[in-house]
C-alpha cells in the first residue's frame, strides 16, 4: 500500500520503565507484526526490554511503572524534560496500580520486615503515579494494558490529537460481548464503576472486573449502596476490592466519597 506520509520525519519514541512488572511493555512487544508496522511511522529509539541501542534524542517518552524513590523521581524529571509528549503506560504509571497497596502500610516497618537492619533502598518513598511528578499527555490504563488501545493511543500521538479514554463503564463493553453478568452468577463485579477500554477483558474470561483501569468520573453514590444490599455485601468487602487498584490519593478521595468508612 502506498503511503504518502512515508517521507515525513518520523517521531522518535522511547520507552522507559520504573517500578513495575514490565508486563505492559511485553504487551507492546507482543503486538509483533503490528509493532513492526508501527515502526514504519515511528522510530523506536529506546526499548530496553528488546534492544541495546540507546537513543539520546526522543520526542515521545512512553513511561511504564510507578515512582517509588527519589532516584526514580529525578530520573523521570530528566526524561520528561527532553520529551515533547509523555505517555503513561499501564496502571502503575497512570494511577499507581497495585504498587499503591504498599501505601496502606508504614514504609519503615515494611523495610524492616524485609531487609532487617541493612537498608539498600534508603531513598524509597510512598508510591506515586507519574502524573504526581510530571505532566502526562496520554493515559493508557490497565493492568496490563490492552494492546489494541496502545495502538490507538500511538495513532493519536502521531496525529497530534488527544486520546479520549472511554468515560463509560466496563459494563458497556461487557454487554456488547454478551457475557452473562457476574451479578447473575452471584459474584460482585466492579464493572459498573470502572472505566471501559479493555473490551471487558476479565468478565469475558469469567472473572469479575477488579477495577484496574480506575473509577469512572461520575460513579453513582446512592445506587451502589442498594446493590450492596441486594447482594448482601459489606462495605468492607467492596473496599477490599477497590484497594487492589483505586488507591492513589486522587482515586482514594473518589472512592471514599462513595463508600465512607463505617457506613
Amino acid at each position: 500500500m502506498s503511503n504518502p506520509k512515508a517521507d515525513k520525519p518520523k517521531p522518535k519514541v522511547a520507552f522507559f520503565e520504573f517500578t513495575d512488572c514490565e508486563g505492559c511493555q511485553l504487551q507492546v512487544a507482543n503486538l509483533g507484526g503490528q509493532l513492526l508496522e508501527l515502526t514504519q511511522a515511528v522510530d523506536v529509539v529506546n526499548f530496553r526490554e528488546i534492544m541495546s541501542e540507546e537513543g539520546q534524542e526522543y520526542d515521545v517518552a512512553v513511561i511504564e511503572g510507578s515512582i517509588v524513590s527519589q532516584r526514580d523521581e529525578t530520573r523521570l524529571k530528566a526524561i520528561a524534560a527532553k520529551a515533547k509528549v509523555i505517555v503513561a503506560l499501564g496502571a502503575c504509571a497512570a494511577t499507581g496500580g497495585v504498587n499503591n497497596l504498599k501505601n496502606l502500610q508504614s514504609l519503615e516497618e515494611q523495610k524492616k520486615t524485609v531487609y532487617g537492619l541493612v537498608d539498600p533502598v534508603k531513598d524509597a518513598f510512598a508510591t506515586k503515579p507519574i502524573d504526581a511528578v510530571v505532566r502526562v499527555d496520554y493515559y493508557i490504563h490497565g493492568c496490563p494494558i490492552y494492546g489494541p488501545e496502545f495502538v490507538k493511543v500511538m495513532q493519536c500521538v502521531l496525529q497530534g490529537k488527544p486520546y479520549d479514554v472511554p468515560k463509560y463503564p466496563v459494563c458497556v463493553e461487557c454487554k456488547q460481548n454478551e457475557n452473562v453478568c457476574m451479578y447473575d452468577k452471584g459474584q460482585f463485579c466492579l464493572g459498573p464503576v470502572t472505566r471501559a477500554g479493555c473490551n471487558s477483558w476479565l468478565p469475558n474470561n469469567g472473572a469479575p472486573c477488579v477495577g484496574c483501569r480506575g473509577l469512572i468520573d461520575n460513579p453513582a453514590t446512592d445506587a451502589a449502596k442498594d446493590i450492596l444490599d441486594k447482594y448482601g455485601l459489606t462495605v468492607q468487602e467492596v473496599l477490599d476490592k477497590f484497594t487492589l487498584y483505586c488507591n492513589t490519593q486522587k482515586e482514594r478521595v473518589k472512592y471514599e466519597k462513595e463508600f465512607p468508612k463505617g457506613r
Partner: protein, 291 residues
C-alpha cells in the same frame, strides 16, 4: 417508494461525505478561523441557519453552521471555534486542503414567513456565525424585508467576529446596528453591558416583527424575557439550539430534546416550539423554571 428508487437507495450511503476544497483559510480571532470551501462544481444550496457535517478522516466529524448566504455562489463559508479534537485539527488546515462535507442538514430560518416583516436579530458570541448567513441573505435581498435591526453582544472587543463586515453594517443606512461588550478595553467606544440592555430601547412593532436570537443557552433565558415584554408573538421569536450531534440524520439520538431531533427538526425553532420541550431544555431556553 417504488421498487426502483428503493433499489437505488440501497446502494447509497448518507454517511459518505463529498470533497470540499478549502480555498481560503483565515484566522479571525485567537480561537476562530474562517474557511471558504468549494464543492466540485456545485453549490451547497442551503438555507441560512442550516449546518453541514465537516469531517476529517481519521479524526472525526462535527456539525458547523454555514455562515455565508446561499446568494453567494460558487463557495460557502464556515467559522470554526477551536474547542476540541476535530475543531483543533481543522484549525491546522490551510488553503488547499480538503475536508469532507455532508449536508446541509436541518431546518434553517423560516425565510418565507419572515419576508415582508421587520427583522430583529440578536446575536451573542458565536451566535453571529449562523446569523451572518441570514444577514448576508437579507442584505442581498434587502427589499424583501421590512425594517432590519441587528443587536450584537460579545465578551470583549477582541472576541468580535467579522470586524470589517460589522464596520460596513454600521455604516449602512438601510439597517440599524448596535453592539455591546461585557468588558470593554481602552480602545472601545461603544456600549458596555449585557445584550439584554439593548432590547428595551429598540423600537419594535411586535406583530410585524420576527426576532431571531442565537447565542449561548444562558442568553436565551434573558433575551426572550425582554422580547416577551415587547409582546412579540411566541411563534415569531426564533432561536437556534446547540446539541451534541453525530449523524445529522435524526437517528443517532444525541441531539434529542424530548421527542424532537434537533438535527432534523431544528436547529432553528420558534419559541412556541421550544415551550413544548419544557423539561428538557437547557438553562431556561424554553423558560421553564424547574419546580
Amino acid at each position: 417508494m417504488n421498487e426502483q428508487t428503493y433499489q437505488e437507495l440501497l446502494k447509497t450511503s448518507p454517511y459518505k461525505p463529498v470533497r470540499g476544497h478549502i480555498i481560503k483559510a483565515q484566522q479571525v480571532t485567537e480561537f476562530e478561523k474562517l474557511f471558504r470551501i468549494e464543492l466540485a462544481g456545485q453549490d451547497l444550496e442551503h438555507t441560512p441557519g442550516q449546518f453541514v457535517q465537516v469531517s476529517l478522516f481519521g479524526v472525526g466529524e462535527a456539525p458547523i453552521s454555514v455562515c455565508s448566504s446561499p446568494t453567494e455562489k460558487g463557495f460557502f463559508e464556515l467559522t470554526v471555534r477551536r474547542v476540541g479534537t476535530l475543531t483543533s485539527a481543522l484549525h491546522r488546515l490551510a488553503a488547499g486542503s480538503y475536508v469532507g462535507i455532508r449536508g446541509p442538514f436541518g431546518h434553517g430560518f423560516p425565510l418565507d414567513e419572515m419576508k415582508g416583516n421587520n427583522i430583529l436579530i440578536v446575536a451573542g458570541g458565536l451566535g453571529i456565525v449562523p446569523l451572518r448567513s441570514l444577514i448576508h441573505y437579507i442584505l442581498d435581498q434587502r427589499k424583501d424585508f421590512g425594517d432590519v435591526q441587528i443587536l450584537l453582544g460579545c465578551k470583549t472587543p477582541k472576541d468580535m467576529l467579522f470586524g470589517e463586515e460589522i464596520e460596513d453594517w454600521q455604516k449602512r443606512t438601510d439597517i440599524k446596528f448596535n453592539c455591546t461588550v461585557d468588558r470593554a478595553d481602552p480602545d472601545w467606544k461603544g456600549n458596555v453591558g449585557l445584550i439584554t440592555s439593548l432590547i428595551p430601547g429598540a423600537s419594535i412593532e411586535p406583530k410585524k416583527t420576527y426576532a431571531v436570537v442565537v447565542g449561548p443557552p444562558i442568553m436565551y433565558k434573558f433575551v426572550i424575557v425582554e422580547l416577551l415584554k415587547k409582546e412579540i408573538p411566541t411563534h415569531q421569536i426564533i432561536v437556534s439550539l446547540e446539541r451534541k450531534m453525530k449523524c445529522g440524520l435524526g437517528k443517532c439520538g444525541h441531539c434529542q430534546i424530548r421527542g424532537v431531533y434537533v438535527c432534523q427538526s431544528g436547529p432553528v425553532f420558534t419559541f412556541e416550539q421550544l415551550k413544548a420541550m419544557e423539561g428538557e431544555c437547557h438553562e431556561g431556553e424554553c423558560h421553564h423554571v424547574k419546580s
